[in-house]
């Protein structure tokens, strides 16, 4: 089963700009022009006002870890070779949340409240680029 490839995101018409930005190593957050609120993950309609006038705005991709786990065993198909890998929910400074991986040699030291910054990793097919996060050194380790 470990030969099975990792699942890759299949962009929707409204999320495609997010993934295209990631391919260019830019991190963007969807926002609603009508109510001016940030939206993560990208939606077809604004979840606050159901507006359909949505855009993508550049983001610094910084935030803190809301919760985190290191997967050590029993992964889903496609992830056996990645063990141990770190899954986190990140609360971005814009106030929205997303799931991602914490990457880097120090990934297993990631703790709740640590500051993180976005980075990008090319996934299996070489075409898809996933936003991932790294511990922001000075701030994260000072705690």
């Amino acid at each position: 089963m470990s030969t099975q490839p990792r699942p890759l995101p299949q962009p929707s018409p409204w999320s495609a700009p997010y993934w295209e930005a990631a391919r260019q190593r830019r991190f963007v957050i969807q926002a609603c022009r009508a109510c001016d609120r940030p939206i993560m993950y990208p939606r077809k309609f604004c979840p606050h006002c159901l507006g359909d006038d949505l855009e993508f705005r550049p983001s610094a991709g910084t935030g803190e870890i809301y919760t985190v786990t290191t997967q050590v065993a029993g992964p889903p198909s496609g992830f056996a070779d990645a063990l141990p890998y770190v899954i986190a929910v990140i609360r971005l400074d814009e106030g929205v949340q997303l799931m991602s991986n914490i990457v880097g040699d120090d990934r297993e030291r990631a703790r709740i409240g640590d500051r993180v910054r976005v980075d990008f990793e090319t996934a299996g097919d070489g075409e898809t680029v996933l936003p991932v996060f790294r511990l922001a050194r000075a701030e994260g380790r000072a705690r």
Binding site: R6, P7, Y66, V68, Q71, A73, G74, V89
Partner: protein, 392 residues
């Protein structure tokens, strides 16, 4: 306070575990027969069948949707409706709420809710992969290796961070459930478990070890719901549906902003208000588990720990046999086995069984009121039902 309109009047169940030679149909027919007879009814008394969604075999699930049980059990041209109810692990509370509403509106008089599935007989990796799709976003979470053990781990990490719950306290939930399972012949794991064994077991997804994680099991259970006014003529031990509350907090867990609490405070408040009862009136908790953190979140939210943190309360033995608040006395999914959607049905049926006084060696004495909880997918929703031997 809500006027009480329905009662559970019959239950049925088969043992949970690995039963590769027992088909889903075989188990479903057995538990339906048991529940219908327990309610003092015959098949043609049932007017609505609510089969719960099954996960292991799509063909079996299609059979459930398309009235197979209605035909196999002799309900043709008497049953008015066969309609699937499905909310994952929350189907227990959800189906009971639907049955209660159908009865309250006069649409139904005898409702049969049935679950039968064989997720325990799936190859191990298929089981992991199946539950890596149930409430996990294909686009936003699966590419990062998210899976059901990580769901439990991420919530546990946040809960421990916010509450100061210790690893020993977390492990004590598994130990408490195992003590009850030792008294339950239908449970999958019945040998005693210690805190040391839990903490010494293999790490899976920090901070969860293998003994913190449920095992998939084959299983089936059923119950019959009838109008409250008819209930005393059907059974000596009707269990009245006194109140229900619930709240949906997410689809993908990365969107939940309060993983240490979910929606149990709000759901509990609504259920208590409907029932006219409060935390002090509850003598037994039938709490949906699957991972040890979820009962702790529910106990906290429902105010059932006498002002203590739930972790300290469980570690002190209060939820174990002989404790002040017997909890999930079938052993929960951690010891009885995770039968898919049916884990919650088994928890609900156990709460009813205790209130009916039919729990055998694990019967809790002097019971009047109990709470039941459930949650589906990646704990997308928080359900609380208040059940009672008393109609008012």
């Amino acid at each position: 306070m809500k006027r009480v309109t329905s009662a559970v009047v019959g239950i049925g169940e088969v043992p949970s575990g690995k039963f590769p030679d027992r088909s889903e149909l075989d188990a479903a027919l057995t538990v339906c027969r048991e529940a219908i007879l327990d309610a003092g009814l015959g098949p043609r008394d049932i007017d609505v069948v609510l089969p719960v969604g099954a996960l292991a075999s799509s063909h079996w699930n299609v059979d459930l949707v398309f009235s197979r049980l209605t035909e196999e059990l002799g309900m043709l041209r008497s049953a008015k409706m066969n309609c699937q109810v499905m909310a994952g692990g929350a189907t227990s509370s959800s189906a009971l709420a639907v049955a209660d509403a159908l009865i309250a509106s006069g649409q139904a008089r005898r409702v049969l809710v049935v679950h039968s599935d064989a997720v325990g007989s799936l190859p191990k990796q298929r089981g992991i992969d199946l539950f890596a799709t149930t409430g996990v976003s294909e686009e936003w979470e699966a590419p990062y290796g998210h899976n059901m053990n990580a769901v439990g781990a991420l919530a546990t990490a946040r809960y421990m961070h916010e509450t100061g719950t210790t690893e020993e306290e977390l492990a004590s939930v598994c130990v408490s459930l195992r003590k009850w399972a030792a008294l339950n012949p239908n449970a999958m794991y019945r040998t005693p478990l210690t805190i040391e064994e839990v903490l010494g077991s293999k790490m899976i997804a920090t901070p969860l070890r293998s003994r913190h994680c449920n095992m998939l099991a084959d299983g089936a259970a059923a119950f019959v719901v009838a109008p409250a006014k008819d209930a005393p003529s059907l059974t000596k031990t009707p269990v009245y549906v006194r109140g229900h509350g619930s709240l949906v907090t997410h689809y993908s867990m990365s969107q939940d902003t309060d993983l240490a609490r979910l929606g149990f405070v709000e759901a509990g408040r609504a259920a208590y208000a409907e029932s006219g009862l409060g935390a002090g009136d509850i003598q037994l908790a039938a709490i949906y588990d699957a991972y040890p953190v979820w009962p702790l979140i529910a106990l906290d939210g429902l105010g059932l720990c006498a002002g203590e943190r739930a972790g300290a309360f469980v570690a002190a033995g209060e939820t174990s046999p002989g404790g002040s608040l017997p909890m999930t006395t079938n052993g929960g999914m951690l010891s009885m086995g995770h039968t898919g959607v049916g884990g919650g049905i088994a928890v609900l049926v156990e709460g009813v069984r205790q209130l009916m006084g039919k729990a055998g060696p694990r019967q809790v004495e002097n019971l009047v009121n109990a709470v039941e909880t459930a949650s589906g997918g990646t704990w997308m929703d928080s359900h609380v039902t208040v059940l009672s031997r008393e109609a008012a």
